[in-house]
């Protein structure tokens, strides 16, 4: 999942008594595709194992249950997005912000099915909710570090805004709302650039420091 390309991968090469790590990795990789395609509720654990070329029982030797596998998949997703974002070369805030927006929107669009599954599980499983919130906290810490002048609450709003908007765009909501997705992306980039910019340099005349 290093790349969001939803490769039309052929049936996996097939293992045969591999290392636990390899088996686990294969399960995670295939589950990612399955969850993205059919959703968490639409995939049964037998299929998950079969998709990776294993018998049903293998699944439970490597994961406590279906949820645990999903959490692993989610972790990978977060990690991949993270990598993509932090791999960005330095540059002026506007350019960087734009690039980040594109990455984020791309991830959300590409892995829409996974995001849906995440919503289902966050809404129905406290454990996943916690894992999700942990990831969120990590993002917030990162953002706070990058923009020390930004109040933590405002940073949180920014994250929320990004998350919800990205999901909405990925789901095609702009069309349903009569909006231009490109405009939405631009507005998002603008918000991010503003937030990441140094606090408004010098003699900001009246109180309009806000953002």
């Amino acid at each position: 999942m290093t790349t969001p390309r939803q490769s039309t991968t052929r049936p996996p090469p097939r293992p045969r008594r591999g290392t636990p790590e390899a088996t686990r990795a294969r399960l995670v990789a295939c589950a990612t595709r399955e969850f993205a395609r059919a959703g968490y509720l639409g995939t049964d654990s037998n299929r998950l194992a079969r998709a990776a070329g294993y018998a049903p029982g293998v699944f439970y030797r490597h994961f406590r249950d279906k949820r645990a596998l999903f959490l692993e998949v989610y972790r990978h997703f977060v990690e991949a997005e993270w990598q993509a974002l932090t791999a960005l070369p330095p540059g002026d805030p506007a350019t960087r912000a734009r690039a980040m927006v594109d990455i984020i929107l791309g991830f959300h669009r590409e892995w829409r099915g996974l995001r849906r599954s995440l919503h289902v599980l966050c809404a129905s499983d406290p454990g996943v909710r916690r894992a999700y919130q942990r990831a969120r906290a990590r993002q917030l810490d990162w953002l706070a570090e990058r923009a020390p002048h930004l109040p933590r609450e405002r940073a949180a709003l920014l994250l929320y805004l990004f998350e919800r908007t990205s999901d909405g765009v990925a789901e095609g909501e702009p069309a349903a709302l009569g909006l231009d997705p490109a405009e939405l992306a631009a507005a998002l980039a603008h918000e991010l650039a503003t937030a990441l910019s140094p606090p408004a340099p010098v003699q900001a005349p009246p109180r309009r420091t806000r953002r």
Copy 2:
């Protein structure tokens, strides 16, 4: 559902040969509680009927399936929130914005369980997704009318921001993120007031790059 008070109502008074409308209403009311309590996936149609004091078969006389009932419940929720918001007395933008934020946060907190169910369904049922997007479009239209100077894209961002933040606050995420919910609410109110205010009065010279 005129009030978000989640009354810990005891087993419903119990009917006995009521009108179809009354039965339907009772099913909707009890289902609201059940969905809020146990979640969409945590109840089945039999239980929903029993919760309202009926036998399982009754359910299918009034609703095609569980989803149809949920949509009805959701419609009620949207309507109630709507009523509460539009019932607000006029006043200066800041005060109004604050009141609106409180209403919205209140609804989301009170009906957290319902919101979770909504997320589950939006993520797994295209039909509910559509219904949800319709409600969203309606809100956007309303906002656009109230703040004609606000570009539609910005209005959409505002809605997204509100929705996600409200859900987050309702879920207790601020604590997990080391944030002060009151601060978050204040920031939200500030955004709303700004958006609803007339477009920046006079000779705002150069720096008004706002976003």
Copy 3:
């Protein structure tokens, strides 16, 4: 059901507090159509009442249960076929036999759906089985009277042959078996004519008593 014509009858005129007999008759008439159309298992008792323009409860005021209604319908069917057969004008055996075959085949074809329902019920309900056997005994008595020279066992075989063949033809089995329905009908008529004919008048020399 005096005539097998499957009239595309419009929705019944609708009653309103009629005599018990009229209601009962209406239920029987409409049930005949419904059973013929959707089969016994494919028709639920509510629909049966509704088809006749009544509420579900009415049904049980006039019939003990669905089965009882079917028995009534069956009785009508038997009666109608009977009437048609006994209404035939006298004539030479061959002509009469042919006419009878045509009547019987017509009835079975027209009321194929009803026959199917009869098979379902005969096979699963001892009560219906008994009613059916009673009707059969009556036919046998009639035949025995008409052809006194015919051993009762042979008469029974003739009845069985007619019943099964007529059902088969009505179901379109000849096509599936590579047979000509007309030939089948002719053969049937031949059997009947032979059976009804006086015992082979004169000096039948060898043992070729065959029928």
Copy 4:
């Protein structure tokens, strides 16, 4: 089902991780008993699995649904009857005919419950109807081959006569009709012997109008 003996077998020995074939076979065997005992409508897939000593889920690993299992059972029945008939030693027509009648009557009596189920399904399920007609066509072909002088239509009548009469005898209809089952069987055997006999040996000049 090699023998029609309806052994009053006790609860099956019980398996424990058998091969799919063995499980399937066990399901078929037990379903045969269940269908014969309680009828097709009188059992459900859960019961069928339990009767074979399995949990409900097992059923669906081996059969699409109850109907598919029944078709399998029916196939076995047809096959068994077939085997019994074709295993008959050669001999003179009359003796052979008598033996065949006895076999057929025996099968129908022994598996009366199965035959009832077949009637139910033929009358309510087009798919089973087709399977049934295919079996019928096969029998007809066989008969046509054995008795090449017999017009196909007459052969069909013979099959129909046998089927219906055998079912009737198995159901005890002779008693209800005041008939002697032995006589019926004899008459049946006579018909068969005649049909199977070579076409009337020598100089039968005029009277052979019989088809």
